[in-house]
């Protein structure tokens, strides 16, 4: 079980080792000690590894993850799991701005709060936030699901495309072209599945409201024909 102490080992050594793991290797569980807010910890992993980071990290932790299960036993700085392709990233504490931005797949779980721009431009990632999310979250979100157990800040889902937003608490305001939509049976299933995979218990999908695109902004509308 490889063990990297970032107070004595360079970040490059850690990330290099994570990138060099070969298919079929048994050494696939990594512990990372003393991350002390370092940037870019465990970025660009393209294998089925598990990585336990024992502390808080800075910018871009687990960015571009493709297949690994990464747990941050602390809080994360801006851009955690940015552009994730597959795998899971769990933040035991809070996450700063643009968590899960542009993610194409995988599951990001934030046990605390996420600040502004959570899930901005998400393209297929699933995000579960157990606390609150900040303003401008899911801005221009294209695909995937964002499940929030707490409250959402201003301008949720501004200019949203086809991502689905589920919020259990209060939404401070909806962004342009984002509206509340009916929770149909398939949406209950999506939320139930994501809560189960995120390890959240005692919460019913019936407690959530769904928000999504009114499709007035990105679809052609005949009344706007003169504008073209």
């Amino acid at each position: 079980m490889p063990n990297f102490d970032l107070s004595t080992t360079s970040l490059r050594d850690l990330n290099g080792a994570l990138h060099r793991v070969e298919e079929g290797s048994n050494d696939i569980h990594f512990d990372v000690l003393n991350p002390r807010g370092h940037h870019a910890v465990a970025v660009g992993i393209a294998a089925h590894l598990t990585v336990d980071i024992k502390g808080s990290v800075g910018y871009y932790c687990a960015g571009m993850n493709d297949g690994a299960d990464v747990v941050i036993h602390g809080s994360a700085g801006p851009g955690v799991a940015e552009n994730m392709m597959s795998g899971t990233v769990v933040v035991e504490g809070d996450a700063s701005q643009y968590a899960g931005a542009t993610g194409r797949g995988g599951l990001l779980v934030i046990r605390g709060n996420a600040s502004s721009r959570c899930g901005i431009s998400m393209k297929g990632i699933d995000i579960v936030v157990q606390g609150n999310i900040g303003h401008m979250s899911a801005f221009m979100a294209q695909a995937g699901n964002l499940v929030v157990l707490g409250n959402a800040g201003d301008a949720l889902g501004d200019s949203i495309y086809e991502a689905r937003l589920f919020v259990r608490g209060h939404v401070k305001s909806l962004g342009s072209d984002c509206i509340e939509k009916e929770m149909r049976p398939e949406h209950h299933e999506i939320v139930a599945d994501l809560l189960r995979r995120a390890g959240v218990t005692g919460v019913s999908p019936a407690e959530f409201k769904r928000y999504g695109s009114a499709r007035r902004l990105y679809n052609f509308h005949v009344d706007n024909a003169d504008a073209y």
């Binding site: 002390r36 807010g37 370092h38 808080s56 800075g58 910018y59 809080s75 700085g77 801006p78 809070d94 700063s96 701005q97 600040s115 502004s116 900040g134 303003h135």
Partner: protein, 300 residues
């Protein structure tokens, strides 16, 4: 980018360590801005005494002559020279000191004036600046530091942060203001004096002007949300207080930590990891458009 740090001590036992803790925090933020660095330290005031921190591009000439020139002008003062800076400790008022400097040493610039504040800032990396002025040995109740990646004005000593535009007041800034030219013109009409073309100096002068109208720092920061346009994370110091404000978009990073012993600010969590008992601190990201303020005098 730019990097900001701030430390407000609640536990007097930490006061001898203020300079060291703040220096470590600032050096950690070096890669957020390599152009210039500065630090403001609030030390113990002496009743009836004023501290004027000055800087000269020709310290050999200017600062060596300060003691004799002040004495010759009948101003009771002691002068401590530190590299390019000097602290004038005097019972005279700031206008008297400024008048003497203007007539005898026109190249000497006032970095700060007040009962507690001392500001040291220069072009160069935080490590160099901290060493040049022996910041690690300084004690105090609170302090603010900044490392700069210049955007709005030239890389000069005067363009470095913190900016001080009023007694015992200072401000550091990460971001850029977009209405600073207009606001500067308005403030000039209100008799504020500017030394640079820098946007941050306008923000500092704006707060000074608002407080001169009778607002406390909390109220001045609240009105800044309406009157300042652009990106900003500010950390502000006054004689007894310490404030934080982020613009409503809040894209400039900020992390805070609080224990029974201190309140700390960093552009990133990295800046805070060396603080005592950080693992037990409450750590959070300050909310956008929200005024945070701590004051030892209870007069926020």
């Amino acid at each position: 980018m730019c990097g900001i740090v701030g430390l407000f001590l609640k536990d007097p036992k930490l006061e001898p360590k203020l300079g060291g803790l703040l220096s470590d925090m600032l050096v950690t933020m070096s890669d957020r801005g390599p152009d210039s660095a500065g630090i403001a330290i609030y030390g113990k005031p002496t009743q009836g005494h004023l501290k004027v921190t000055v800087q000269s591009p020709d310290p050999e000439h200017d600062l060596r002559l300060l003691t004799s020139d002040l004495a010759e002008a009948g101003i009771r003062a002691s002068v401590e020279v530190k590299d390019t800076h000097a602290v004038i400790d005097t019972t005279a008022d700031v206008a008297t000191v400024r008048a003497l400097l203007a007539s005898r040493h026109p190249h000497v610039r006032v970095m700060s004036a007040g009962e507690s504040i001392e500001i040291y800032k220069e072009v160069g990396l935080p490590k160099e600046v901290v060493n040049r002025f022996d910041i690690r040995k300084m004690s105090g109740t609170h302090g603010i530091g900044h490392t700069r990646m210049a955007t709005e004005s030239a890389v000069t000593t005067l363009g470095a942060h913190p900016f001080s535009t009023g007694p015992d007041q200072c401000l550091v800034h990460n971001g850029s203001l977009s209405n600073h030219n207009n606001l500067r013109r308005e403030l000039v009409r209100e008799k504020m004096v500017f030394e640079t073309e820098n946007d941050t100096e306008v923000a500092a002068a704006y707060l000074t002007a608002e407080m001169a109208k009778g607002k406390n720092l909390r109220e001045a920061l609240t009105s800044a949300l309406n009157d300042l346009d652009g990106f900003f994370t500010f950390v502000v110091g006054t004689k007894s207080g310490f404030g934080v404000l982020r613009d409503p978009i809040a894209c400039k990073p900020a992390v805070m930590a609080e224990t029974d012993s201190y309140v700390a600010f960093g552009s990133e969590y990295r800046a805070l990891v060396g603080l005592p008992d950080i693992d037990r601190a409450r750590v959070w990201e300050p909310e956008p458009a929200t005024v945070y303020f701590w004051d030892r005098a209870g007069a926020a």
